[in-house]
C-alpha cells in the first residue's frame, strides 16, 4: 500500500536525529512536526526569525506577532530564541541547520531541486526562502508524491522545471518509496506497495537497490 501524507510525515520524522535543528518549510513538510517525539530534542527553525517553534496556535494562543513561514500562528517552546531576518538566513546559509524538509515539483538524479516555479509563461515568479534553504541546510529532505497526476515521475534524469538549487537534495520521501541521493546514484531505501522492479520501470532513471533489499 502506498503511504498517506500522514504516514509520509511519520517516516520523515523517524529519520530526523535526536537533537537536530530542523526547518520544515511551508505546506506538507510542516506535518512532520506532529510526529516528532516530545523527548527527541529536535528544535524547529522558522525562516522568519525563530528557533524553538512549537505547534500551531489555537484559540487564545493566537498572536499575530508569532507566525511560521507560512504566516500561520504558532506557539513558542521553552529554550526558544528570536532573531532578525539577516541572522535567520545567515543561520541557514552558513550551514548550521541539520535538516531542511521541502516539497518539490521535481528532483533530479543528482539531487537538483525544482520547487519554486513551473516555468509557466504567465506565472508570477515567487521564491521566498526556498533557494536559501536548498543550499543552506546540511541535509535537504524532499517530500512529494512520486508521480504527478498525469503519471509522470517527479524523480527525473534532469529537471525540466526551473531549478531552486543544484545537487542539494539528500533524501526523497514519496508515497511509494524513499530514496537516498548518493554520489554513485539514487538508492532505493524502502518501498511501500510497489516492487523495486516496478519502480525501476516507471522511474526513468537508474536506481541502486538498497543493500538491505
Amino acid at each position: 500500500m502506498s503511504l498517506s501524507r500522514e504516514q509520509m510525515a511519520e517516516i520523515v520524522a523517524r529519520d530526523i536525529p535526536d537533537g537536530a535543528y530542523v526547518n520544515l518549510g511551508i505546506g506538507q513538510p510542516t506535518m512532520v512536526a506532529d510526529y516528532l517525539r516530545p523527548d527527541s530534542g529536535v528544535v524547529l527553525h522558522t525562516e522568519n526569525g525563530m528557533l524553538g517553534m512549537g505547534r500551531p496556535a489555537i484559540g487564545d494562543e493566537i498572536d499575530p506577532d508569532l507566525t511560521n513561514a507560512g504566516k500561520q500562528p504558532v506557539t513558542e517552546l521553552p529554550g526558544a530564541s528570536y532573531f532578525h531576518h539577516a541572522d535567520s538566513f545567515a543561520m541557514m546559509r552558513g550551514g548550521h541547520l541539520d535538516v531542511c524538509i521541502m516539497g518539490a515539483f521535481q528532483v533530479s538524479a543528482r539531487g537538483d531541486l525544482a520547487n519554486w516555479s513551473t516555468g509557466a509563461p504567465d506565472a508570477i515568479p515567487a521564491v521566498g526562502g526556498a533557494m536559501d534553504l536548498a543550499i543552506g541546510a546540511k541535509q535537504v529532505f524532499v517530500m512529494m508524491s512520486l508521480f504527478a497526476k498525469d503519471g509522470k515521475p517527479k524523480l527525473v534524469p534532469e529537471c525540466t522545471y526551473p531549478l531552486t538549487g543544484r545537487a542539494c537534495v539528500s533524501r526523497v520521501y514519496t508515497d511509494v518509496a524513499t530514496f537516498a541521493v548518493e554520489p554513485d546514484g539514487v538508492r532505493v531505501v524502502e518501498t511501500f506497495g510497489i516492487t523495486v522492479d516496478e519502480l525501476i520501470t516507471r522511474v526513468g532513471i537508474p536506481l541502486v537497490p538498497s543493500p538491505f533489499d
Binding site: N48, D65, H84, A123, I124, A126, P162
Partner: protein, 215 residues
C-alpha cells in the same frame, strides 16, 4: 524624534525607494503605510518581503498607483490580487530576490559592504546576468546592497532616543531595514523614558532611528 504619522512619512518623496518591514502582517507598519497613501508620494520602489495582502496596507498603496516597482521574495499569495492584477497588466515592475539575499543585501547596505558573494540561487534562473565565482570549490553569485531612502518599520517598544525592541517573529526585517535607509521611521506600540530599556536587550540602537510614531 516623536512625531505624527503624516509628519513622519513626509520624508518620502516621488521616486524614492521605500523599505517596508514585515513578513505577512507580522511587523507590517500598517499605520505608516496608510499615512504614506494619504501623503501621496508616487513613482515609488517598494522593498518588502511580500507584495501586499488583501485590499489594505501595501496592497492599497499599490492599488493607488503609487508604486513603479516592487523588490520582494514572494509576491504571489492567496490574497495578493492587487499586485497580481497590476503585474499581469504590465503596470508594475517586479524584481524577485531570494529571501536570504534580500535580507543580506539590506544588511550590506547598512554595513557599508560594497558587494558580497552568496551561494543562494546558483544554477537557477535568478542567477542570470549575475557575476559568478568559484571560491574554495563552491560557486557563488555577486550580490549588491539594497539601500532605501526611507524605511518604514514596526517595533514593539521604543525609548525617547529611538532605541527599539521588537516582539516575537514581528522582528523579522525591521532591524536590517533600519540600518539600510537614509531615514528610518518606526511605528511602535509604546514609547518609554530614556533609561527604561535595558541596554543589553536593545535590538535596534537609536543611531538607526530618525522618527518615532506611537500608534
Amino acid at each position: 524624534m516623536i512625531v505624527s504619522a503624516p509628519e513622519a512619512v513626509s520624508a518620502v518623496e516621488d521616486g524614492h525607494t521605500v523599505l517596508v518591514g514585515g513578513f505577512g502582517m507580522a511587523g507590517m507598519p500598517v499605520e505608516l503605510i496608510d499615512a504614506l497613501i494619504e501623503h501621496g508620494a508616487g513613482d515609488l520602489t517598494i522593498v518588502s518581503n511580500n507584495a501586499g495582502n488583501g485590499d489594505t496596507g501595501l496592497a492599497a498603496l499599490l492599488a493607488a498607483g503609487r508604486v513603479r516597482k516592487v523588490v520582494c521574495s514572494f509576491p504571489r499569495q492567496s490574497d495578493s490580487w492587487v499586485f497580481d492584477g497590476l503585474y499581469r497588466a504590465g503596470q508594475i515592475e517586479l524584481e524577485v530576490v531570494p529571501q536570504g539575499n534580500l535580507a543580506e543585501r539590506l544588511r550590506a547596505a547598512g554595513a557599508g559592504i560594497g558587494a558580497f558573494f552568496s551561494p543562494t540561487g546558483v544554477g537557477t534562473p535568478l542567477a542570470e546576468g549575475k557575476e559568478s565565482r568559484v571560491i574554495d570549490g563552491r560557486e557563488y553569485l555577486l550580490e549588491y546592497p539594497i539601500r532605501g531612502d526611507v524605511a518604514l518599520i514596526r517595533a514593539h517598544v521604543a525609548d525617547k532616543m529611538g532605541n527599539l525592541v521588537y516582539r516575537k517573529t514581528a522582528r523579522n526585517f525591521g532591524p536590517v531595514m533600519a540600518t539600510a535607509a537614509a531615514v528610518t521611521i518606526a511605528q511602535v506600540s509604546r514609547i518609554v523614558e530614556v533609561g527604561e530599556l535595558d541596554p543589553e536587550v536593545v535590538v535596534t540602537p537609536a543611531i538607526y532611528v530618525n522618527r518615532l510614531v506611537q500608534v
